[in-house]
C-alpha cells in the first residue's frame, strides 16, 4: 500500500515539488513562500483524498494533483480579495470540510490533545488501525501480537482507556 510507504511519499514529494512551485510562481505570480505553502497543502489534500478513499485509481495522478493545487490557489486568491482569470473551479473532492468544519470540533481537538499524552503501544495501535487503516492481521504481525484476536482485544482496551482519559480531560476543563 503506497500510501503508507514513507520512502515512496518522500520521493513523490520531491519529484513534483520544483515543477509545482515554478508553475505557481510563473503562471499565478505567487511568491516562493506562498508556492511552498500551497504545495504542502495540496500534497496533504492528495494524501487525505487517497486515504479517505475519495479517489480510488488515478489514471493521471500528476494532473489530478495540479488540479488540487489550482483549487487551493483559487482559494488563496479569494482570501486575499484578488481576481485571477483561468482559475475556474476544478471538480475534485475537497477535504476542506474535513480539515475545518466537520472535524474541527472542540471534541476532536480534545482527543488530539489527549493523544499527545497517550503512550505506546496503544497510540501506535490505534493510529495503525484507524488512520493507516491496516487490518488486525497486519497489525498483529507488525507489532508482534500473537494473532488478530489479541489485536482486537488490545484495541478495545486502548479505546476504553483513551475514552476515559478524554472524559477526565473534559471534566477537568469544565471545572476550571
Amino acid at each position: 500500500m503506497l500510501i503508507n510507504d514513507e520512502e515512496f511519499l518522500r520521493w513523490l514529494y520531491g519529484e513534483w515539488r520544483n515543477d509545482f512551485r515554478s508553475w505557481c510562481e510563473k503562471k499565478y505570480q505567487l511568491t516562493a513562500s506562498e508556492s511552498s505553502e500551497i504545495y504542502q497543502d495540496a500534497f496533504l489534500q492528495l494524501f487525505m483524498n487517497v486515504r479517505e478513499r475519495k479517489v480510488s485509481e488515478l489514471e493521471h495522478p500528476r494532473t489530478y494533483f495540479f488540479g488540487i493545487g489550482k483549487n487551493l490557489i483559487r482559494q488563496h486568491y479569494k482570501r486575499s480579495g484578488k481576481q485571477m482569470e483561468d482559475l475556474d473551479n476544478v471538480e475534485i473532492p475537497d477535504n476542506a470540510d474535513y480539515l475545518t468544519n466537520r472535524l474541527q470540533t472542540e471534541q476532536r481537538e480534545e482527543v488530539i490533545k489527549v493523544l499527545n499524552y497517550f503512550g505506546d503501544p496503544c497510540r501506535k495501535l490505534l493510529l495503525m488501525f484507524y488512520y493507516e487503516q491496516y487490518s488486525h492481521e497486519v497489525i498483529a504481525e507488525r507489532m508482534g501480537y500473537k494473532n488478530d484476536q489479541v489485536v482486537k482485544k488490545k484495541k478495545s482496551l486502548c479505546m476504553s482507556e483513551l475514552r476515559k482519559l478524554w472524559k477526565d480531560y473534559r471534566l477537568k476543563n469544565t471545572q476550571q
Binding site: Y13, N116, Y117, P121, L127, E132, S156, E161
Partner: protein
C-alpha cells in the same frame, strides 16, 4: 456502555458502510431507541476523527521537514556551483547565526515564556488502567492534585521499595521527573529524562525526549533544546513532531 470488541466492530462496520441492509436498519433503530448506545457511538466517532486528525497533523509536520531537507540540499548544490554564491550563503548563514545567538542571549525571558506556554505536566496514564495498587494510587493522586512535593516523596519511596518491575520503575521515574519539573528542580528532572529518552520499548520514551528539550529550554541552554527538538522533528511519526516544529518556529 463500554467499548467491547463486539460494540467496536459494529461501530466500525457501520462507519465503513460494510453492514448488510438488515444490519444497518437494526443498528439505526438501536441508535434511535437507546441513549447510551447513541452516546457511545458519538464518542466513538469523535475519537476516530481525532485519531485520524492526529495522524494528518503528524504527516503535515513531516512534509514541512521534507521541505526543509530539500531546501538544504538545494543550498548545498548552489554552494558547489559557484564560489561567489557559496560566499553569499555562508555570509548569510553567519549573519543569521550571529543574529540568532544574540537574540537568544539577549532574551532569556523568551525561553521562559515559551517553556511556560508548552509545559504541561503529563497526565496520569498509570492508575487509569485499573491497576490500583494502593501506594501507586496515592502517589498519583498527589501528583494529579498538584501536591508535587508529596508526590516526589511517594514516588521515591516506591522506587526504593524494589517492588516494581523495570518497566514500572521507568514509568515511576518519568512521573518523578514530571514532579521535579513542576517544582523547578530542573537538574534532577534532566538527569532522569536523559536516561529515559534512551530506553527502548518504553511507552513514554518520546514524551521523555520532549520534556528533556523543554527542561533545557527553561535552563537557558537553547542550543541543546534546539538540537533535541530537531531530532524529534526529524523522527517519523514522533508524538511531539508537530509541537517541536511549532516551538522551533517560535524560537527562530
Amino acid at each position: 456502555m463500554s467499548f467491547t470488541e463486539e460494540i467496536l466492530s459494529q461501530f466500525e462496520r457501520y462507519e465503513s458502510s460494510t453492514m448488510s441492509q438488515e444490519e444497518r436498519v437494526a443498528f439505526e433503530e438501536r441508535l434511535r431507541q437507546e441513549e447510551d448506545f447513541r452516546n457511545s457511538f458519538e464518542d466513538f466517532r469523535q475519537m476516530q476523527s481525532g485519531i485520524k486528525a492526529f495522524g494528518y497533523q503528524q504527516f503535515a509536520a513531516q512534509l514541512q521537514s521534507w521541505d526543509e531537507e530539500h531546501d538544504t540540499d538545494a543550498d548545498e548544490q548552489v554552494r558547489t556551483l559557484s564560489f561567489s554564491r557559496w560566499y553569499y550563503w555562508a555570509a548569510a548563514v553567519a549573519v543569521i547565526m550571529v543574529a540568532t545567538i544574540s537574540w537568544w542571549q539577549l532574551s532569556p525571558g523568551q525561553n521562559e515564556q515559551l517553556y511556560t506556554a508548552y509545559f504541561q505536566p503529563y497526565p496520569d496514564v498509570l492508575t487509569s488502567r485499573g491497576e490500583n495498587e494502593n501506594a501507586l494510587n496515592t502517589a498519583m493522586i498527589a501528583y494529579e492534585s498538584g501536591e508535587y512535593s508529596e508526590a516526589i516523596t511517594l514516588f521515591r519511596q516506591l522506587l526504593e521499595g524494589n517492588g516494581s518491575t523495570e518497566a514500572q520503575g521507568n514509568e515511576l521515574r518519568f512521573y518523578l521527573a514530571q514532579a521535579y519539573l513542576s517544582t523547578e528542580s530542573y537538574d534532577l528532572a534532566q538527569q532522569l529524562l536523559e536516561d529515559l529518552q534512551n530506553v527502548d520499548q518504553f511507552g513514554l520514551k518520546e514524551a521523555s525526549q520532549w520534556y528533556l528539550a523543554l527542561a533545557y529550554l527553561k535552563q537557558g541552554d537553547s542550543d541543546t533544546a534546539v538540537r533535541l527538538l530537531q531530532q524529534i522533528k526529524a523522527s517519523p511519526n514522533h508524538a511531539y513532531g508537530a509541537q517541536s516544529l511549532q516551538l522551533l518556529k517560535q524560537m527562530n
